[in-house]
Amino acid sequence: MSIDAASRAGFNSAVTSGLDSVSSGISKSVEGGGVKAEVIQSFRAHGDPHVSTHGDPHVFASPRDSAIQIAAGGQIPEPSKFFSKLPADQKGSQGVRNAEIADKLKPGSNLDLKQSSADLKNSFEQEIKKYEEKLNSLGDDSQLANVDLQNILQKQQQTLQMMSNISKMLYDTSQSVIRKMGG
């Protein structure tokens, strides 16, 4: 079956990166004292017609079906696709429903990135203030709690700095667009 160039490139990339992982793992295991029979058994090939090798590793070099999509190594789903597959009413820590997030992430949504990132920055500022007050109110005998709080505070402060830079960048970009439209 013929296969288009893009699918071929994707397949080759998936196989190459996969081969690196497999070779590395097997080498480490063998060098570490051999591979137990039950482990070998747990990798018993499934006989999946799409990727089955029938015992011949060289078959990996020839994709048999251009319709098969194989994720690249380290790849993760696009955000909008990920959230659209989660249960719609399931909520995150802050009580926001997955369906609402999926809606905002889909292409063509009404998400105002500039305003929302500015709002997010404000939320971080408020949260940092809250943690700073909590830290100040804790006595010296709560050292463990202090370490955890300080850790959270440090992460939030770094993120706030990042959000400030991003907000400025988004503002500058929008000003540049406005100037070009006016000119």
């Binding site: 190459t16 690196d20 497999v22 063998v30 590793p57 955000p79 926001v96 305003q115």
Partner: protein
């Protein structure tokens, strides 16, 4: 004050953009901060896991994908990614558990991440056979032959 859907979406969009642009440290900082506010959001941990993986921080990446699986036990992409890291690090038993679980969640063979798990299982099964019967030098030879055939195809 709780974050709104717009704020969560904005945070994710920006972190994802940083990631795709290769600004891994920026993505990491953003995600670490967002996770302090939204620790139950599996995608934040997923994206962080991928950022750490790209930085070569495999142990941290495994821990982060583990967190995704704790929140969403049937997440195929997290299972495949964690399984592959286990594989890279020579933890074949753990790798088999994750990759087989990933495959079992996609009986129709439609999910690209489950297909990657299938590919990894098949490759490992074949090459384990080679290593077991002929030793490590034969494994490297088989690897080179596959790469050569890929180049020539």
């Amino acid at each position: 004050m709780p974050l709104t859907a717009d704020q969560v979406a904005a945070g994710i969009s920006i972190a994802h953009s940083c990631f795709t642009q290769g600004r891994l440290k920026d993505a990491e900082i953003l995600l670490e901060g967002l996770i302090t506010m939204e620790s139950g959001n599996p995608y934040l941990h997923m994206l962080l896991g991928s950022v750490l993986l790209q930085q070569g921080r495999l142990d941290d990446s495994v821990a982060t994908f583990t967190r995704v699986i704790e929140i969403s036990p049937e997440d195929i992409s997290a299972l495949t990614n964690r399984g592959e890291i286990h594989l890279k690090q020579g933890r074949l038993k753990e790798a088999a558990a994750d990759l087989n679980r990933s495959i079992s969640l996609d009986p129709k063979g439609e999910d690209p991440f489950a297909n990657r798990a299938r590919l990894l299982i098949e490759m490992t099964a074949s090459l384990l056979n080679v290593a077991d019967q002929e030793g490590l030098p034969a494994l490297e030879k088989a690897r080179q032959q596959i790469l050569l055939q890929l180049k020539q195809s």
